[in-house]
């Protein structure tokens, strides 16, 4: 008797499973309501990531093309992967007459970055921050090496260096 009971139970459990998948099938066939995937490259322009999304490191510039980085190289030291290279020079400030570091090139190797955020955590003047760009696809590896400061940009003269 248990032979038939086994068969009956087996068919019952199989039908339970089929009921679940079948429900999703017909719902999706007629209404597409439960479809969870998105049509990726089509929605690339409207897709917006959350504010905190760690896509890449960027350097903020204001409307006068000024940034906050005084080439202190704290971020370079904080980075565990050697992602950041800072090229700087010493230059005499025409107003005060003091020699100070001037940022020439803030090189960021996106291909080496693990998005750990230690550089942004360490930066004393909030010069670098997270960008929400997620579309890093490129045909050439060298495109991933980026210069974060824009050309011709200069240090904001009244930037604040907070003591973290």
């Amino acid at each position: 008797m248990s032979y038939f009971k086994d068969i009956f139970n087996a068919v019952k459990t199989l039908l339970t499973g089929m009921k679940i998948t079948g429900r999703y099938f017909f719902v999706n066939l007629f209404t597409r309501r439960d479809v969870i995937t998105v049509q990726y490259p089509d929605n690339i322009d409207t897709l917006k990531m959350h504010d905190r999304f760690r896509g890449e490191v960027i350097m903020g510039h204001d409307e006068n093309n000024m940034h906050q980085c005084d080439a202190c190289t704290i971020c370079e030291n904080a980075c565990p992967n050697g992602t950041i290279e800072i090229i700087w020079d010493k230059e005499k400030n025409p107003e005060t007459g003091k020699t100070q570091k001037v940022l020439l090139n803030h090189i960021y190797h996106l291909e080496m970055c693990t998005m750990c955020g230690e550089c942004i955590e360490a930066c004393p003047s909030d010069a670098i921050e997270w960008g929400q760009n997620f579309h890093h696809v490129t045909r050439d590896r060298s495109n991933l090496t980026k210069s974060l400061n824009r050309p011709e940009s200069i240090l904001n003269p009244n930037f604040v260096k907070s003591k973290k």
Partner: protein
Amino acid sequence: MENQMENQEFLADKIRTQEYQLNMGPQHPATHGVMRMILQLDGEEIKNVEPVLGYIHRSIEKMCEKSSYKQIIHLTDRLDYLSSHMNNEAVTLLVENALGIEVNDRIKIIRTIIAELTRMASHQLWWGVMGMDTGALTTFMYAFRDRELINEIMEETCGARLTMNYNIIGGLRYDIHDNFVKRVKEFIVHFKEKLPEYDNLLSNNVIFRKRTEGVGIMTKEQVIAYGMNGPTARASGFECDIRKKLPYSAYGMVDFEEVLRTEGDAFARYKVRIDEMWQSMNIIEQLIDKIPEDDFRMKTKPIIKLPKGDFLQRVETARGDFGVYAMSDGGKNPTRFKFRSPSFANLHGLNKMSENTKIGDLVVNFSTIDVVVPDIDR
């Protein structure tokens, strides 16, 4: 008649059967990454399984010795990437305990909630892959539907979906997002509705039951002898939940059940994880309304130096007992850093489990011990 007998003996001499070796992996759909197993087979029956490791070895422990304590945290994301938050937590707790930093309740509770969300996400992924390994391909997408909601919560609050890197020494990287509490509650409501579906689709399915029940039985003694832990060991009745035994973060404040089963077969290992998802929801429900208003990070020195000595911290990840051991000479970097990863310990039992089973059972066993290959190789 006699002639026929002779003939058969002659054939038996001529036609021999022999055991043969089959190389499963490193590129194989069932090995969940780059792991290689050398199988000794007699027809379909498995005589011996020999895992070959090292295909994804990145010498993370050595890298840790070169890094400062702040930098170590993000490397632990890359061990067991499915329980990255718990791995981070292990390192931060180690440093905090060594320095004597006592974090406030807000940090503790948020850490615990995120850890439990991560555990659920990990178990969901495992459930989907478990279905795929047994041949039911649809489970994967159903699991990802629910996992996506957790990932969304993580992305909003922590900034990343998988390698969250949300813990820092002495607190959290950001405060929780304004939507966090609301979204977690929505998720709990959603998932309580969907988790029974997991049972109906797979756990109660007669084919799945036949595939898992009585397969790969490990007794409690064997589990202890092989050093296995986590849900895999709890399925054999070995109480080894670090959350209960050595409570850390907010686990002391909540009332939850350590899921134990005694059968020790593949189905028990499966069921333990399903029940752990219920327990995770239980923990989150108890904590989600109790997040006190406070700072989300404590004051720490800019350069962290551990005092001279040895330090050990254990946490319970989704896979089991994850241990971090650090030896310090008082400098910025540890002189020795060692991870005790649960997947590596659990993998030891695979050979014992798979003795005299079929190839199909090996896949099921491998799936139910739920290894993450980068966690094995480090």
